[in-house]
């Protein structure tokens, strides 16, 4: 189709503001699906995605729409992942579009996630069409939200559309606005092929399936192609579009969006953001490519050590479909054999954990997550450390750098005090604070990612009674005055309990951790000393007195059978303990570091 009749767009919205409902409605209105075929939220196909109401993988759907001007248009809806952890993927999906629908719940107003993605879209030069959804709700206040959009996002919202995706009111106007306001693709159809890979997924039967936006030239079946960043060459086996059912086509021309199978067997061969070109192409790749780098790391251990092989197989399978997820075998003296895993962020970690437990039926013990640190040694070497236990001795370290984020928080002003205190505690640095009217405040803070990975989100929810929304993006590494805090139990440092903390906080955190361990470790037959230490210097000490009494006093006659059961229960309890040195440490202790709040 003529490039001038193509519109590529995405939908930006906060969770529950109606993105999926609007997408369903657009599909219905353009006849892509009859309402009989309609399944709620067609686009979020993974079970977990539906349950959590989030999008993890990108999807596309091509809609044919005859507009009021009598012309037929191809509307390509690119459904982007909706969470900060996947902000790189989001940026690539946005790069495939010329416009975006900014959907805001007219009863709730702008939230942090909307903002972060809207800023990204504006930065990439997308045309934003504000859409006020849920106007049929009694508490809807479209005028206030319209002003909010102008003030916070900084775009003209005078032409904002007022709709109800649920009832279908105003959906026609959305389609017309897409045609009228989203610019058609600008690529050169006669130039050599350049296509942006904005998603890749693994199909167990067909191999890797890439989602692409053809920028210049055309992509056709049988074409010899090359991925410019990875250098891998391939031949196009099949290409097509989603309507939303996959429909094979002979070619995709400049401006068009679709899928490609090119005979690749491993997801690792394709990187999101790469450029697909003809094998002989010598020109430049499309801008904006970056390798997806895990920022958050945690150890995953099978609760039952015999499940190690099963865990490895599950991780392998999972990584087939998740190129950002990394894992490598790891041994902990405390937890035995397991894996050190890298994630894009906390949600990504939770999603992986949940898929492992749900889809693979594994019981996992996850250590406290930590971020990636960059270490400059005194000998001038640069290392990246993913596990606090691997931090070189203090004397060898010249400098430690930690990742920072730029966080956006939106909150009713009632909770501002509590939130300011929280971000202050977390070593936050204010970038912006703005009153939005209507009693809402927007905060921008620069924060160490390490201060966010533990329980920041939970704390934010609790100090704001759930009213604050939060989003962030990665903001580079910065040097920090950081030290490794070891927890030493009866003279043995417990590797799985080591944490890296800011020196100013080491003392309070060390004391809190030692206290927490004292509460968690049951009394043993002998005295147990728990210490928090920096290097060889102990900064906190707690003593767990020896156990004095655990006995069955009466054991007569028929009761013997019952008493035996009592002992069996005790034995079951002991199975959940991990022995470090001579001390039995319960699994909860390894999670306790997550819950210590200082």
């Amino acid at each position: 189709m003529d490039q001038r009749h193509i519109r590529n767009f995405c939908i930006i919205a906060h969770i529950d503001h109606g993105k999926s409902t609007l997408a369903d409605r657009l599909l219905e209105r353009t006849g892509a699906l009859s309402s009989r075929e309609m399944m709620e939220q067609v686009l979020d196909s993974m079970e977990l995605e539906r349950e959590r109401g989030i999008t993890i993988k990108a999807h596309t759907v091509t809609l044919r729409y005859r507009a009021a001007d009598g012309e037929e248009y191809l509307l390509n809806l690119i459904d982007t992942p909706g969470h900060v952890d996947f902000s790189y993927e989001v940026s690539r999906s946005l790069a495939a579009c010329e416009g975006a629908l900014l959907v805001v719940d007219a009863s709730q107003g702008v939230e942090a996630q909307t903002l972060a993605n809207a800023y990204l879209a504006v930065a990439q030069g997308l045309e934003l069409i504000p859409v006020l959804n849920k106007i049929d709700l009694p508490q809807a206040d479209p005028e206030r939200v319209r002003q909010q959009i102008e003030q916070v996002v900084g775009i003209d919202a005078s032409h904002a559309l007022a709709i109800s995706a649920k009832s279908g009111v105003g959906v026609e106007a959305v389609l017309e606005a897409l045609v009228a306001h989203v610019p058609p693709p600008a690529g050169d159809p006669h130039a050599p092929l350049r296509a942006l890979v904005f998603d890749a997924a693994y199909d167990p039967f067909r191999g890797v399936r890439c989602l692409v936006r053809v920028v210049d030239g055309r992509l056709f079946r049988g074409q010899a192609v090359r991925f410019l960043a990875s250098g891998r060459e391939a031949a196009v086996d099949e290409l097509g579009v989603f309507t939303p059912r996959p429909v094979a086509v002979e070619q995709l021309a400049a401006g068009e969006v679709g899928y490609v199978f090119a005979g690749l067997k491993e997801l690792a061969h394709v990187q999101v953001g790469d450029t697909l070109a003809e094998a002989s192409f010598l020109g430049p790749a499309l801008p904006g490519f970056a390798e997806a780098k895990p920022m958050v790391f945690a150890g995953l251990y099978p609760v039952d050590s015999s499940a190690y092989d099963a865990l490895r197989e599950a991780l392998e399978k999972l990584s087939l479909n998740d190129s950002a997820f990394r894992f490598q075998p790891d041994t902990s003296q405390a937890l035995g054999f397991g894996f050190r895993c890298g994630f894009l962020g906390l949600l990504h970690m939770e999603v992986v954990q949940e898929r492992l437990e749900r889809e693979f039926g594994l019981q996992l013990l996850t250590t406290a997550p930590n971020v990636a640190y960059r270490i400059l040694t005194k000998r001038g070497e640069l290392q990246e450390v993913h596990n606090p236990a691997q931090l070189p001795p203090e004397g060898m370290i010249e400098r430690i750098e930690e990742p920072f984020i730029l966080a956006t928080i939106l909150t009713p002003d009632t909770y501002l005090g509590g939130i300011l205190q929280l971000v202050q505690e977390r070593r936050g640095e204010q970038v912006r604070l703005e009153y939005l009217g209507g009693g809402r405040v927007m905060l921008e803070y620069r924060l160490p990612l390490a201060e966010v990975v533990l329980d920041f989100y939970d704390r934010l929810k609790s100090v704001s009674r759930g009213y604050a929304s939060f989003d962030y993006h990665f903001d580079g590494f910065r040097p920090g005055n950081l030290v490794r805090l070891d927890l030493v139990v009866n003279g043995e440092p417990v590797d799985a309990l080591a944490v890296i903390v800011h020196r100013d906080r080491a003392y309070t955190r060390g004391r809190a951790l030692a206290r927490k361990l004292k509460e968690t470790i049951p009394r043993q037959l002998f005295e147990v000393v728990v210490q928090a230490a920096i290097g060889s210097r102990a900064i906190a000490r707690e003593v767990i007195k020896p156990l004095r009494k655990n006995v069955i006093a009466k054991c007569y006659g028929g009761d013997i059978t019952r008493k035996r059961k009592l002992l069996e229960r005790q034995k079951e309890g002991k199975k959940r303990l991990k022995r470090v040195g001579r001390v039995d440490i319960p699994q909860e202790a390894f999670l306790a570091v997550l819950k210590v709040d200082v």
Binding site: L525, V551, A553, G557, G558
Partner: protein, 392 residues
Amino acid sequence: MRKSARAGSGVSNSAAPTAPYRRHSCGLYLHVPLCVSRCSYCAFVSTTELEQRGRLVSAIAGELDTLGRRAGRELRTLYFGGGTPSLLGAAELATIMAALRRWFVVAPGAEFTLEANPEDVAEERLQRWARLGVTRLSLGVQSFDENILRRLGRRHSAVKARWAVAAALAHGFTVSLDLMVGVPGEGAKQVEQSITEVLQLLPHHVSVYLLELDKPTPLAALATRCPDTFPDEDAAARAYLQVGKALVGAGYHHYEVSNFARPGFSARHNLRYWLGRSVLGVGPAAAGQVGRQRFANVEDIQLYLERLEAGSSPRAWARTLSEHELGVERLMLGLRLAQGVGEGAVQRLAPPEFCEQLQAFLALGLARRRGRRVRLTPRGWLVSSELLAYLV
């Protein structure tokens, strides 16, 4: 004590594979599930509906008849426990004894224990019990502190308890006295007092029970609600060791986790359980073991009555223990005894984790080795579940 223990290890009838019913002697436990009121720490099967007593006595006699017809044999020990067997009247006891003697021979020199509450002890009753052949009275004294007695829901006073023990001794009974430690309201003073009183009375046998709260009793509920009322774990452990030390100093032998006896006065009936010898069980919830068979009656008193009145068996379950189970249980019970267990048996039967933990017990002085035997020390008994859990 020494004598009975040696006799114990010499008898191996319980290991015999086939039912040794007719040829061998055994013990018999008879459960009398009647109480005037329920004590706050007690979870034993018992009822305070004393109007049931007529039916109960008949049912028990009936069970003795059916049991005896199949398994008449010589009884070496006889134990009437409860509940409160001491509240049975002369006629009721006579009915039970008649059924018993119809089918069983009580061996010469047999130990015949009756559990009695101090408030039930009276001259006339002592005479009656002696006439019936009772040789040993186990008196539920529990404490000599009025405040504690009240909290435990006991109906007697310290004065009454003192008199009951003295009177029983004067009538020539072997007397065992039950004490509880770790109970609410117990401090150093109360522990001292118990020790002084017991050593003044000098009964043949003393059972010292640490309070157990693993069953749903009013006291267990109190412990959840106001734990501060109770001495903490450390104080309870101290009290147990202190009482034990005083008793041993006065010539008692600490022969089982909770039991102390002057030489020759270990509880022979209870030793049967601990050494795996045959004991029959009669009455609601009573359990028994013959050879490798273990069995128990239904716990519900109404159901027990209905079953027997309908002429059917009151058995709730019966099962045959495997040779291994039996061996493991022997280790578990053996380690609760001062005589301990043979190291050979440990090596043969115990899993490696147990042996590892036993090494730790030995290293910490919680267990001791003598010759080819190993036993737990009193401090070791206090934490014995930490070891025994690895056996099961």
